[in-house]
């Protein structure tokens, strides 16, 4: 009799702990980004002017302006909360990293919060210069020879910043400097998840470097997962 009570009590505690604790805040938004229409064909990149990089790509890589997946999914879309959540009072302590490897920016899109540390790494055996073409933030341009240690920078205003290397004109990346940490970048499967959202009314924005921005309103009332999808119109040029 007491054992049964013991079991019941134990179960109750276990159940309470799993149901009551849904993370620090509560709900989440997840979904998929797809496109309709025909996206522009991505062109193969000729890296013959930089043999050290060309040798790393026996099959030439293509430009990454539009990266798609099976099922018309769209990658490299930054999905973020543009309204309804407070700005981060202090930036996350962990740095985000952009790596120059094989004369490519990895990852292609680097999201970060305002004033968060950005680490820039040159993993190639040749020089790069990293030149974020900021219009709202300060525009700077730094050389990074091979073998030099990573350096850190930060941006103090929200902005989507194209990044280029002047030495290697095919290199293109994007910095997404955002006001809060509620963001995700869609992968090859077009999928994204924004966890830890307290109850509230949010404006969700999806941004793609070629196809522009779209917004949707999402309301979180508890600890549910809301599903949201974005469909971008692809352009054949």
């Amino acid at each position: 009799m007491r054992t049964k009570l013991g079991y019941a009590a134990g179960l109750a505690v276990l159940a309470a702990s799993t149901i009551g604790f849904a993370g620090p805040s509560g709900g989440s938004i997840s979904g998929k980004v797809t496109y309709e229409g025909t996206p522009a064909r991505q062109k193969p990149i000729d890296m013959s002017k930089e043999p050290g990089c060309a040798s790393q790509h026996p099959t030439p890589i293509t430009t990454e302006t539009v990266v798609v997946g099976p099922g018309n999914t769209l990658a490299n879309v930054v999905v973020y909360v543009s309204a309804g959540a407070p700005d981060d009072a202090t930036p996350p302590g962990q740095a985000v990293t952009i790596t120059q490897k094989g004369c490519q920016y990895l990852p292609h899109v680097v999201p970060m919060v305002v004033n968060q540390e950005l680490k820039v790494v040159n993993a190639d055996s040749n020089s790069h210069n990293i030149h974020p073409l900021a219009k709202i933030n300060h525009e700077w341009n730094k050389s990074q020879p091979p073998g030099t240690p990573p350096f850190s920078e930060k941006f103090d205003k929200p902005e989507f910043i194209p990044v280029k290397c002047n030495i290697h004109p095919w290199m293109h990346g994007e910095f997404a400097v955002l006001k809060n940490s509620h963001y995700a970048v869609s992968g090859g499967d077009g999928g994204f998840t924004l966890p830890n959202l307290p109850p509230g009314k949010y404006t969700l924005t999806a941004w793609h470097e070629a196809y522009g921005e779209q917004t949707q309103e999402v309301t979180i009332s508890g600890s549910e997962t809301k599903t949201v999808s974005f469909v971008f119109k692809a352009k054949p040029y």
């Binding site: 030149h131 700077w140 341009n141 730094k142 050389s143 020879p145 002047n166 004109p169």
Partner: protein, 295 residues
Amino acid sequence: MRTNNLTRLLMVVTTLLVAPVLASPQQMESHIGKVTGHSESGKQLFYRYCWGCHGFRGDGNGENWLAPGSWLEPYLNIQPRNFVAATFKCRSTPTGNLPTDQDLYNSLVRGFVNSAMPSWITLTEQNRADLVAFIKTFSARWKNDKPGDPINVPPEPKLSADSIKHGQELFQKLECWKCHGQEGRGDGPSASTLTDSNDQPIRPYNFAVGSRFKCGATNQDLYKIFMTGLDGTPMPSFADVIKPEDAWDLVHFLRTLQVTHKSPELTLWGSTKEGAAQIASRKISGTPTGSGIKQ
């Protein structure tokens, strides 16, 4: 044709009516040495001397440079500085920072070689200081950010053949030749694809012709160019990757690339066997723009 008094009056009234509307309402000061400039005085000067190229709004879209996409060809080769964007090439401050008042004043005095920006040495010191103050009213950055601290330019060490040789190694190691070419003629493998931050084609500096740079003519100016970068252009800052003593070696070597300009570096290099062979093999292409202009 003699303008009669009525026409003159109409012209003055129009200027006075139009100019304040276009100019930013905030007032700025500039401090250059002992001179203090005031933007209200600079405004009159700007709308007389500068707006034809730099535009009503100070954004570089003056009628002498027509906006890209216009059905008329632009008259100027290089777009005038956009003061609204507040990104400047010639600074003594690190990349990404605003220039100091002195930097802006120096640019006014020198003009920009190989561009349509003349030397404004014809205006008085006070005029130039007033113009610097007015330029600072075009962008909110001047209110919100302070110009960075000027970089420290250590005294130039004694010139030697070793310094030049080391500079040559740095030129290779830092891959300057990728844009500037092995002989510094601006014909490196990446040169033809270079664009500035407005996506306009731009060429790297050709050391083989002339002696002046965009941002000056002295060794100190050359030092500052690659230690602060030319913001808004493909030329990056090497401040994080060159030690100051190494930077001077690079300056000495770069002078030997300027084969039409007789400098102590070129003379010393030409007196060594290796240097003489190098100089003899250099082709001189392009037009020399002259040297030694005193300010």
